[in-house]
């Protein structure tokens, strides 16, 4: 008697749930849809690779271009009327890009790491809650604004300080001005990833050092920073990678002269600013210039991709060490 009524109750309950639309069909459709969304991100990567490399291959298939001279040549004159392989050497663009990336790294890495140590080890919670969002604003300001700032403030400042007082020639478009704003732009990125890594270091490590009589400086530099090193390196690499891909500030402030220079006060052209220059010039899709931006874009993508993968493995290492 009792058994039967229990079974009946369960049956009633089940049919109640089925009637509210929670049936297997719905469930399966949603699962497939959500899976599709999850896999979509892989499609984006595939799309990037296909679209960049298909056009880049079309570029290299042209008789006027040579894959070898592209990577070894030191002259980049794609817009000249004389279309010969010697005019398609990407090294000046890579040189300009790396010059700005290294100089902005020289600004962002010490300042970012210093900020990270301060926020993680020294600042009280109250101070941290005020300073951190303020620093994040730097990362949220559009890059075109940084370009404006470089051109309207930093460059005139450099001209006054270096040219008028010290007699050093400063080009109106120069790599240093662009590097300064790009460096400021990536401080928050370096700071926040380094800080995450430092905060993941267990307190027991710090307390052990304090118990041995270490000062705060010693704990920070000899315990916390080494323990968080893989995360800090990841932050540096990601910051540099971000500087390599930075576009607007660089095309506004650094100019558009592809040249093999070591002088930071010269005008240079980066890979990104070349792409912008051609896109503004409205190059037709099948033309050699329209295709050249994809060869440059593929080079840029490959560089940042490798750096991102390396930094991901570093980040994984510190997550695994202390989780």
């Amino acid at each position: 008697m009792n058994m039967v009524s229990n079974k009946k109750r369960i049956k009633n309950l089940l049919s109640f749930f089925h009637s509210t639309g929670m049936n297997d069909f719905n469930e399966k459709v949603m699962k497939v849809l959500l899976f599709g969304c999850g896999v979509f991100s892989i499609l984006i990567t595939v799309g990037i690779i296909i679209s960049l490399f298909s056009e880049a291959i079309a570029f290299f298939a042209r008789p006027e271009v040579n894959l070898f001279t592209f990577f070894t040549g030191t002259t980049w004159r794609p817009l000249s009327s004389n279309i010969v392989p010697e005019n398609f050497g990407v090294r000046p663009l890579i040189r300009g890009t790396l010059m700005i990336a290294i100089m902005s790294g020289a600004i962002a890495i010490p300042l970012g790491l210093g900020s990270a140590i301060y926020l993680s080890e020294y600042a009280s919670d109250r101070v941290r809650n005020i300073i951190k969002p303020l620093l994040e604003i730097l990362a949220g300001i559009p890059t075109v604004v940084y370009g404006y700032f470089a051109l309207s403030f930093i460059t005139p400042l450099l001209k006054t300080v270096l040219e008028e007082n010290l007699g050093i020639d400063v080009n109106f478009f120069n790599a240093l001005s662009a590097s300064i704003v790009v460096g400021v732009m990536i401080i928050p990125m370096v700071a926040s990833i380094s800080e995450d890594a430092m905060r993941a270091v267990p307190r027991s490590l710090r307390e052990g050092a304090y118990a041995l009589g270490a000062t705060k400086f010693e704990v920070s530099t000899k315990i916390v920073v080494p323990a968080a090193l893989s995360g800090i390196i990841a932050a540096f690499i990601l910051g540099i990678s971000r500087a390599i891909g930075e576009t607007m500030a660089v095309s506004i402030a650094a100019g558009s002269t592809p040249r093999m220079t070591m002088n930071p006060l010269d005008s240079v052209q980066t890979m990104t600013s070349f792409i912008v220059q051609v896109s503004f010039g409205d190059a037709p899709s099948g033309s050699i210039n329209g295709q050249s931006i994809f060869a440059v874009g593929a080079t840029l993508f490959a560089m940042t991709f490798i750096m991102n993968i390396i930094s991901q493995t570093f980040i994984k290492r510190f997550r695994e060490a202390y989780d």
């Binding site: 899976f35 969304c37 979509f40 679209s51 300001i141 404006y148 000062t215 991102n308």
Partner: protein
């Protein structure tokens, strides 16, 4: 033994003093590095305010770009940015949240899931200009599939046009306002799709964090009632996670509103003297208008009008961020 420690004590003390001095110097260096960033932020904002505030006039909102700086405005750019960003939100929200739900609620912990995770983190680091090139080929040109000499057009003898509107134009079900253009060309839709791909990794990462913050006990309570996974997700997890998801979404959009490079690569125009009628129209956006002004030789454009435009752009950014912070503080549930 005792003697030794007596001898050592003063040395140790001296040493401690030195070590404390080094610590003080280090502390000051750290403060300088924090303040350097904040100092640059202040200088940047003050510089823009000084150059731009006198030029903040109603013409900025009511006029198009003009040959006279006093008359120039950015009406079409403001409208263009607004529509592109709205479309971007509409497109990226379902896909981004769907991916986040899949990864947090459904995906098993295996190599494939690890691969998706790695891929999303990588996409977040791809330069925005690369997304522009992706959008140009995939949405803007659609691999040239609809050009006159493509195999697709040849085999099916499709009625493609060339001229102002390039490619294939047809009305879905014959309804006029369901017009479809293939490829998407330099339209607002192409720009919004590109922006959606660009912010998708950010949306996914933020949504995942918000979904992960919902305690497992809530889900278990749902399962104990005999409900299914999707029902638990839809009625319990999502409503609780929604404020966090929206906050992340708005922050992602505020990044998109300042993005210039992808739209330039996509072929957004710098001079658009009309308002768009449909998502198939050409457009311009605020950062592009500002970039255009910066590159003009006259100081009124280059310095003053550009700064005024930047102030308008930053105001939009602050409003978006304000909404995000409000949502977070108002609806955030602490467990």
């Amino acid at each position: 033994m005792e003697n030794k420690s007596v001898i050592l004590a003063p040395i140790y003390k001296d040493n401690l003093r030195n070590r404390k001095i080094i610590g003080k110097i280090f502390n000051i260096l750290l403060l300088i590095s924090v303040l350097a960033g904040l100092f640059m932020l202040t200088v940047l904002l003050v510089d823009i305010a000084i150059e731009g505030v006198p030029w903040l006039r109603p013409e900025l909102f009511t006029n198009y770009h003009s040959r006279k700086p006093e008359n120039a405005g950015m009406k079409s750019a403001i409208v263009g940015s607004f529509i592109v960003i709205s479309l971007t939100g509409i497109i990226s929200f379902p896909v981004g949240v769907g991916a986040a739900i899949y990864l947090e609620e459904y995906a098993r912990k295996n190599r494939f899931t690890d691969f998706i995770n790695l891929n999303i983190n990588n996409l977040a680091g791809v330069p925005s200009i690369v997304y522009g090139m992706l959008g140009l080929v995939v949405f803007g040109r659609m691999f040239g599939l609809f050009s006159k000499d493509s195999w697709l057009v040849q085999t099916f003898s499709l009625p493609v046009q060339s001229g102002m509107v390039n490619g294939l134009v047809f009305n879905l079900f014959g309804i006029p306002w369901l017009e479809i253009h293939l490829p998407f060309g330099r339209s607002m839709l192409a720009g919004a799709l590109t922006m959606s791909l660009l912010i998708l990794p950010v949306v996914i990462i933020a949504s995942r964090e918000s979904i992960r913050a919902v305690p497992p006990s809530i889900r278990e309570a749902g399962y104990a009632m005999g409900t299914t996974k999707w029902y638990v997700t839809r009625t319990l997890v999502l409503p609780i996670a929604l404020p966090g998801i929206l906050t992340g979404m708005i922050l992602a959009l505020s990044r998109a509103i300042g993005e210039t490079a992808p739209l330039i690569i996509m072929g957004a125009f710098t001079y658009v003297p009309f308002l768009p009628n449909s998502i198939w129209d050409q457009f311009t956006a605020m950062p592009i208008q500002i970039y255009n002004w910066i590159t003009l030789p006259q100081e009124d454009y280059r310095i003053h009008l550009a700064a005024a435009g930047i102030i308008v752009l930053l105001l939009f950014l602050f409003i978006l961020n304000g909404i995000a912070v409000y949502l977070r503080n108002k609806f955030q549930v602490k467990w």
